[in-house]
């Protein structure tokens, strides 16, 4: 019996538990969560506020740690890596898009986009080429020298997406990327994510409250009370 590449999950969570503790209070978020995601999937994660959507992304990004269980991405055990290794891993394989863009206001748009490239051994010339190429992709060519503080929300989020993809990661994590945008800007951003998934083969996990956003994804996971209650497969 042969196993095709499609059968090995790109991301596999097994029995992941996470409880927040503050003082004597315990707030269990996940107790034995399982999840598997294939390479090239576009997943929407929905669920009520406080259900643990952001926590899930934090665990996948390695910026928070599970109490128990295993988190495997691309064959690597993220839960067994140390802090420095997880930082390096993020720099290498992951792009993150934030709800509030999280651009550094004192840097220009291009400098913001360049940040992930500084973590790699790439010459300044190549860095500038890559930055201008991704600004092109997100439709902000020629805006590199502008300060993000002078841009609209939609433009800022496109800078955020450019930054997330500039180092050519395999996985994109987006936490409510359209949560702070008007409909028109939101649609542009969603179209862009769809493009990245379809044309560039990025695996995308997007947390959203917006059903229209979820409709862009190939699969929607509903998270409630620490478990996925529904796992609908939308056939393309």
């Amino acid at each position: 019996m042969t196993i095709s590449e499609k059968d090995i999950p790109f991301i596999a969570l097994n029995g992941v538990s996470k409880t927040y503790r503050s003082g004597s209070e315990r707030l269990p978020i996940f107790a034995g969560l399982d999840l598997s995601i294939g390479k090239g999937e576009f997943i929407a994660v929905m669920g009520p506020s406080g259900s643990g959507k952001s926590t899930l992304l934090n665990l996948l990004a390695g910026i928070d740690q599970a109490d128990s269980g295993s988190i495997q991405i691309g064959g690597q055990r993220l839960d067994q890596m140390g802090e420095a290794a997880r930082s390096a891993w993020r720099a290498q394989h992951m792009g993150i898009v934030f709800q509030f863009y999280n651009l550094l206001p004192m840097l220009t748009a291009a400098e913001n986009v360049e940040l992930p490239l500084l973590l790699k051994s790439i010459s300044g010339r190549v860095r500038r080429e890559r930055v201008s190429k991704v600004l092109d992709i997100v439709g902000l060519n020629g805006r590199g020298r502008q300060s993000p503080t002078k841009m609209s929300g939609g433009q800022q989020q496109r800078v955020g997406i450019a930054r997330a993809i500039v180092a050519d990661p395999t996985l994109l994590l987006c936490d409510e990327p359209t949560g702070d945008l008007d409909r028109k800007s939101a649609d542009q951003v969603l179209a862009m994510l769809g493009f990245l998934n379809r044309e560039l083969g990025k695996t995308i996990i997007m947390v959203t409250h917006d059903p229209e956003a979820a409709a862009q994804a190939g699969r929607t996971l509903h998270l409630d009370k620490g478990v996925f209650v529904e796992d609908e497969q939308v056939m393309a």
Binding site: I63, A84, R90, L104, L107, L115, P116, L119, S121
Partner: protein, 400 residues
């Protein structure tokens, strides 16, 4: 490695570019460090200036003989016959002679006298030194700048440059009252800024007669052919043990005197400066903690992108060091401009006023700079560690 350096420079650049957002509190840190540096420079310059003034008075080739087991001129007493015996011995000692063959040896007394520059001025204690006519020749750095030295047996005085500059009453030809007696100013001398410039010199017999000290000798000064001759001199006077004589070079005499006062200045100065430094460190800690909370979202974002902890640590610490360096720089410039060369006076040796200049030199500035930088380094260390440990989850929750 290259990536790590790039991370550090890029994070540091972003941090420094964000400084204008926290201008006020950053300036308060700069200001408090500047203040500490100024205070430190102030008393160190005072101690340094005092030392230099006294030490430059001392030559290693001038021997001072004191009696009565003391190391201070004021308390010293050499019995008259002992003084005469030593004078008689000068043949056998390597003492320098002037052109007429007279050995450069001087009997001296020093008397604190009260002086009023004008009738309703407060009285100042000045040092009046009585000496033999050879006295000025023994001190090579002394130059008669105008007038003439006191003639033997007359109530004439020559005035050191510092006193002449301070008190208009010491003009040449003026009569001045010192204690019970009126003297005539016959000349002014300079001594390369040394402590002698704060003295009045008169003829030893006239001084002794005016203050009921006839026959008294406090110190004997001899100009030796070379510094090592002092051992020979000590051996020669050793048999006169009854007078409890001490033979030391003038350099040693002033060095030990200057140490006492310089230590005293530092003893008062350091605790004040250190207390201020502790306050400034607390201020720096506060400034840097607020800088950290101002930048938390940005640090967490960069860390979430993959920037390492070291870059967050270095960038924060660098900001603290930079702010303290600015404070140090301003403090040093200000101290140098306002304090260096500033003339002041204190009760020096011989219970009389001694004026000296504050000296803000290399080692004064280095010490002050070190303390100033240490304030930033210590105050910034904890916030820098906290920056390295910023919880990354705030990045996903942060607004703006």
């Amino acid at each position: 490695m290259i990536s790590s350096i790039r991370q550090i420079t890029s994070m540091s650049r972003a941090t420094l570019l964000s400084l204008p957002r926290r201008l006020a509190i950053s300036l308060s840190m700069v200001g408090s460090i500047m203040l500490v540096v100024c205070v430190l420079c102030g008393f160190l310059a005072m101690a340094r200036g005092f030392e230099i003034t006294l030490q430059s008075a001392g030559s290693p080739e001038v021997a001072v003989i004191l009696g009565g087991g003391t190391r201070e001129e004021t308390n010293s007493e050499i019995p008259a016959e002992v003084a005469r015996t030593i004078m008689a011995m000068s043949e056998g000692i390597s003492v320098v002679r002037d052109s007429r063959g007279t050995p450069l040896l001087s009997n001296e007394v020093i008397v604190p006298v009260e002086y009023r520059d004008h009738p309703d001025a407060a009285g100042e204690m000045l040092a009046l030194r009585g000496m033999d006519p050879t006295g000025p020749d023994i001190r090579r750095e002394v130059i008669l700048s105008s007038g003439k030295y006191a003639s033997p047996g007359t109530r004439e005085i020559v005035v050191g440059a510092q006193l002449a500059a301070t008190y208009p009453g010491f003009g040449i030809g003026e009569d001045v009252r010192l204690g019970p007696v009126v003297w005539t100013v016959s000349g002014h001398f300079s001594a390369q800024g040394s402590a002698f410039e704060s003295e009045l010199w008169g003829d030893i017999d006239a001084v002794r007669a005016a203050f009921n000290r006839v026959g008294e000798v406090q110190s004997l000064r001899l100009r030796l052919t070379e510094p090592s001759a002092i051992k020979q001199l000590a051996m020669a006077v050793d048999p006169l043990a009854g007078a409890q004589l001490k033979v030391l070079s003038e350099a040693d005499l002033y060095a030990s005197q200057s140490q006492g006062t310089s230590r005293l200045i530092q003893l008062f100065g350091w605790p004040i400066a250190l207390l201020m430094a502790i306050g400034a460190t607390a201020g720096a800690l506060n400034t840097m903690m607020s800088s950290l909370s101002d930048r938390t979202a940005e640090i967490a974002t960069a860390r979430a992108l993959g920037f390492n902890r070291l870059s967050a640590f270095v960038a924060t610490w660098l900001e603290a060091l930079l702010l303290s360096a600015v404070g140090v720089g301003l403090g040093l410039v200000l101290s140098w401009l306002t304090l260096n060369g500033w003339q002041t006076s204190t009760l020096g040796a011989n219970n009389a006023q001694m004026s000296f200049r504050l000296v803000v030199n290399g080692d004064v500035m280095a010490t002050a700079a070190l303390v100033g930088i240490a304030i930033g380094a210590i105050g910034g260390a904890l916030p820098a560690i906290a920056a390295a440990r910023v919880p990354l989850t705030v990045a996903l929750r942060a607004r703006g």
